[in-house]
Amino acid sequence: MGKQKFAVTVDDLTVAYNYKPVLWDIDLAIPEGVLMAIVGPNGAGKSTLIKAILGIIDPIAGSVSIYGKPYKKQRKLVGYVPQKGSVDWDFPTTALDVVMMGTYGSLGWIKRPGKKEKKTALESLEKVGMLSFKDRQISQLSGGQQQRVFLARALAQDADIYFMDEPFQGVDATTEIAIINILKELRKKGKTVVVVHHDLQTVPEYFDWVTFLNVKKIATGPVKEIFNDDNLTKTYGINYKVSVQK
């Protein structure tokens, strides 16, 4: 392998809620073009890590760079899928309108979305197989459909790096396969995708890169090399055995 280009670099990142650190001194370099899972127990700081990278939470120490520059200068390169539970799905709006929000970043302040943005949003809905639901009020969608709308919104951001906070949470098997196919598609196009993931069984099948996190970074690297019982035990604290299938 030649000299690797890093899409995201995190240096000495420490995040605290009310002076209680939830992430200690994280160093992390995510190579360009990987499909990476962040795994760790509840309360390990997985979502917090993503939020700190995206500037949603201010760290008390450390820095983040996206292709060598601070996040604030690189917003347009980054797409984000928050946890489904983080928004109010009774909000009076439609699936299409939510997906349009993905285009707001490139519009900037005041400018309104027009035909071009609508076209992008419709194409994104089509990619996730939700075009026929475009005018549906978002509370009328099933959990899996809501997650697809969120994914479509990130696609509408047309980013180079995607951060997704538990995109498989509460979705049925069909949707899970549909989502992972889209993620693999993104990787094929050279995009970098970082996913907070819960289901350890599917890590080897879905991802090629993995980061073990539990307040501190335990390990990061190719799934083939580091996804083993040793790291799992270090991360989850108990004697962990996972049958790693090919």
Partner: protein
């Protein structure tokens, strides 16, 4: 209609519009109570502004009052952040403190101020036409019309400019931050608009009722639409409707205008709350009832599908077996008959072809954990709903 009457209705309508706009976002942000806090805590700002200028119509009063509204929000959030008290407790602590400072300031200086607590609490729209804007002896109409007109104009231009930003930061503050639309800036922007609007509306309707004008129209609109723009338009409509019909109600009853306006607001909300087509109380109850009968129907059909032996399908046996009361069994059997899903021959019930294929499809969905899809096949099979 006299010109004074027209002016009062015009002022009331503009106040209603100016309140409905920030009110819609407050309702969606689940911050209805903060409008109550703001409306009370602008009082010290008003009074201090008055001490400085000795003019109730001075723009400085509005600025001072809006400032104390924003200070209230900051204080509430500061107390909340310490996590030592709960969110609503923080609101309940801050605004009475601010309000009482205002009340003390008024009562200490009662002689040289013609603000009195009754007017502060309830407002008096009827006097608005008497306080006129005179420039070089020319009459430009009531001062409050100008005040609220300017405030409304500012609110509307901010709404048009920042509609998309307000929408995204209300719906998904996380994404808004990530995209660079600072929710903090938008939050305080909205709070400032709410404060300024409250000051403008204060004169007309007083501290207590301005809350109703902000919250009730938005809460009513929320029950009727799935679209933010329509929700804003409906809020404005309900606000103006209540303002004008409230005025005439007051005229007819010879009672307080602001009180009548709020009464109308309450009545309109009650009507919509009860009768809204999708989210109204009656339609929700009706739907629950329908669901209940239809689930019973499905249970009944599944039972028939599971048993070929006649003894299990005898009409009396079903009564006992499924353990339903007579009335319920009868309504379920009737529903099945009306939808051509069963036939009854000598008290033995059999599934028809249609009943069979509906039940089979439903079982498929139940097995694959797709219960929610049963709802959509009902459309194809049911002639009559439960």
């Amino acid at each position: 209609m006299t010109s004074a009457q027209l002016e009062i209705q015009l002022i009331a309508s503009l106040v209603a519009i100016a309140c409905a706009i920030p009110g819609t976002f407050l309702v969606l942000r689940k911050m209805a109570l903060i409008s109550d806090a703001i409306s009370h805590s602008i009082l010290p700002g008003l009074v201090i502004g008055f001490f400085i200028t000795h003019d109730l119509g001075s723009p400085l009063l509005i600025i001072m009052a809006a400032l104390s509204g924003v200070i209230t929000v900051v204080l509430v959030e500061f107390i909340q952040k310490t996590k030592l008290v709960k969110e609503d407790t923080a609101i309940g602590l801050v605004f009475p403190a601010m309000f009482s400072i205002g009340v003390i300031l008024i009562s200490k200086n009662a002689n040289d101020i013609h603000l009195d607590t009754d007017v502060v609490l309830l407002g008096e729209l009827a006097f608005a036409p008497f306080d006129r804007l005179l420039i070089d002896g020319m009459d430009f109409g009531p001062k409050s019309l100008w005040t609220i007109g300017v405030i409304l104009l500012i609110t509307l231009s901010l709404l048009f400019a920042f509609f998309k930003e307000l929408k995204i930061s209300t719906f998904d503050a996380g994404l808004a931050t990530a995209l660079g639309f600072s929710p903090v800036v938008l939050h305080y922007g909205l709070m400032s608009v709410a404060s300024v609007t409250t000051v403008g509306a204060f004169d007309a309707v007083g501290a207590i009722l301005v809350v109703a004008l902000m919250i009730a129209p938005a809460a009513t609109a929320y029950l009727l639409t799935d679209n933010l723009k329509k929700m804003l338009l409906l809020s404005v409509f309900f606000g103006v409707f209540s303002a004008i019909s409230g005025y005439w109600l007051a005229h007819w009853l010879d009672a307080s205008i602001s009180g009548s306006m709020t009464t109308v607001l309450g009545m309109v909300f009650l009507l919509v709350y009860l009768f809204a087509p999708k989210r109204g109380l009656f339609s929700v109850l009706y739907r629950n009832k329908q669901q209940q009968v239809e689930v019973s129907l499905l249970t009944f059909l599944l039972h028939l599908n599971n048993h070929t032996e006649k003894s299990e399908r005898h009409i009396n046996h079903l009564n006992e077996h499924i353990n339903w009361q007579k009335v319920r069994s009868k309504s379920v059997v009737d529903l099945a008959l009306r939808n051509n899903m069963i036939t009854i021959d000598k008290n033995i019930i059999s599934l028809t072809e249609k009943g069979k294929s509906f039940t089979d499809k439903a079982i498929d969905y139940i097995i694959t954990n797709d219960d929610s899809k049963i709802e959509s096949i009902k459309e194809d099979f049911f002639l009559f709903r439960g």
